[in-house]
């Protein structure tokens, strides 16, 4: 059993696969195309929706969906740390001087209610799509994801996509091993890069060659079983669900109606 040691704020592809293959929730049984459609809808929705409460509600609903799929909540909270950090590190420059009642003043900078709302909306937007992306990945079996990718992506993008998906496991595993070995002798990657750049450039170079050799071996093992640039999934996609796809279409239509009809809370398509 592989000890999963990587910094725990990154979703582990092995764990994602485990939930996707083992889970048996209603979400797992949905048409994968409909789930992709729903993700696309959510991305557009959080981009267009304005009111903070609506965005927070969207996030709450998505989290409920995540939990209904039987996915691990504690892991989700850990995985949130990176997207939240991205948002915060950006708004640290932008959040000041927003209109609204002052909440906090520090060193000449004023944080207002408007500023707080800005932060909350940006975080809610980010986490909504992150959460649903994880729902999609953790409730859709590999054959179906690969099948979709093979259908949608033109060659050679599909080949590079599917092969690099495989190599992800290899390279992440190698990084795990490297971090473990560094730590076992009192070293650390981040500290090392900053204090002894040359040595770590060497470590990186060696790891790169090693990872490439490993990938090359995988490639040759595939050639040994007849790989010639095609990567066909062994199971067809489940039959198209007209009802589910219809529901997604209706949702898109409603969104378009809300935006074009100037429903309050939805900004126009053009800023």
């Amino acid at each position: 059993m592989p000890p999963l040691r990587r910094s725990s704020h990154i979703p582990d592809p092995n764990l994602i696969t485990l939930y996707a293959e083992r889970g048996g929730s209603a979400l797992h049984r949905l048409d994968p195309r409909a789930k992709v459609g729903a993700l696309a809808w959510l991305v557009v929705f959080v981009t267009l929706a304005r009111p903070t409460w609506l965005l927070v509600a969207a996030l709450a609903v998505t989290i409920v969906v995540y939990l209904l799929a039987g996915l691990p909540f504690r892991e989700l909270l850990r995985w949130y740390s990176i997207p939240v950090l991205f948002v915060l590190s950006l708004v640290v420059f932008l959040v000041w001087e927003e209109p609204g009642a002052p909440v906090l003043a520090a060193g000449g900078l004023v944080l207002t209610t408007g500023g707080v709302a800005l932060v909350v909306s940006l975080v809610a937007r980010a986490l909504t799509t992150v959460t649903f992306t994880l729902v999609l990945l953790m409730t859709t079996r590999y054959v179906h994801l690969a099948g979709l990718a093979a259908k949608v992506l033109p060659s050679p993008i599909d080949q590079v996509f599917l092969l690099s998906y495989r190599f992800l496991f290899t390279t992440l595993g190698l990084i795990d091993g490297l971090l473990l070995a560094l730590r076992a002798r009192g070293g650390g990657l981040v500290r090392g890069v900053l204090t002894s750049t040359r040595l770590f450039a060497g470590i990186f170079a060696l790891s790169f060659v090693r990872a490439y050799d490993r990938a090359d071996r995988v490639g040759r093992a595939m050639t040994a079983r007849g790989y010639e640039g095609r990567f066909p999934p062994s199971e067809p996609l489940p039959p198209l669900s007209v009802v589910q796809l219809g529901a997604v279409a209706v949702a898109f239509a409603a969104l378009a109606f809300a935006v074009l009809g100037g429903l309050p809370g939805f900004g126009g398509v053009v800023p």
Partner: protein, 219 residues
């Protein structure tokens, strides 16, 4: 490292869509040129390997100022050329979005930034072949210039697009971005050294990966 770590909902809809459209156009051009000749399986393996490595390394992150990590896009450009490199950029960004490491709606913009890096690095590295002796200098220089170009494009894209719900004027946003860009370039210097070292190492030990003539293995 010039890489827009923006989450979904940060860029306005119309601009996100615009950058996506531009990126798709660019990718379509790359595909047309790539398909003129059948692709060697070895190139596909190398491209897939670069994609996985770009993504995996992005997970080893220094979490300051929007997340600082090596982008390896210049390296991918040097190893693969801009055509195949652009495909690497697209897929690496898809993977990143899939783990919440940047949003789906900014993939278009990021592909444009990365394509700038790939193309610049490839061009500089190729142009200096035979003119500059040291592979390290060529690689480090190409990488630094590429990351600088990428940072300019990133600042341009974000300034033009604006950030949803922010009341600050474009100048103030740009000023913030310049600070971010400066940090990027500090990390860019590290990446340039690392990439230069890596390329020099490959030239010495594994010229086959660089697509050069085999030599006897050094001890």
């Amino acid at each position: 490292m010039a890489h827009i770590h923006l989450q979904d909902g940060t860029l306005p809809f119309a601009w996100a869509a615009f950058w996506w459209a531009l990126a798709l156009l660019l990718l379509a051009l790359c595909l047309v040129r790539l398909r003129r000749r059948p692709l060697e399986p070895g190139r596909v393996t190398l491209a897939a390997f670069c994609t996985a490595t770009v993504f995996a390394l992005a997970q080893v992150e220094i979490p300051i100022l929007g997340g600082v990590h090596l982008s390896l896009m210049p390296l991918s450009g040097i190893l693969l050329g801009p055509l195949l490199g652009s495909i690497v950029a697209l897929i690496a960004n898809i993977f990143s979005a899939a783990v919440g490491h940047g949003g789906w709606s900014v993939i278009g913009a990021n592909v444009l930034v990365n394509a700038t890096e790939l193309g610049t690095a490839w061009a500089v590295f190729r142009f200096t072949a035979g003119r500059v002796g040291s592979v390290f200098v060529r690689g480090a220089g190409a990488t630094f210039l590429a990351l600088f170009a990428g940072t300019l494009v990133m600042i341009g894209i974000v300034t033009v697009s604006g950030i949803q719900g922010v009341a600050l004027g474009a100048e103030a946003v740009a000023a913030g971005l310049v600070v971010l860009g400066a940090v990027n370039m500090a990390v860019g210097a590290v990446e340039a050294i690392v990439t230069g070292y890596l390329l020099a190492y490959l030239a010495r030990v594994r010229p086959d990966i660089l697509g050069e003539r085999p030599v006897a293995r050094p001890e």
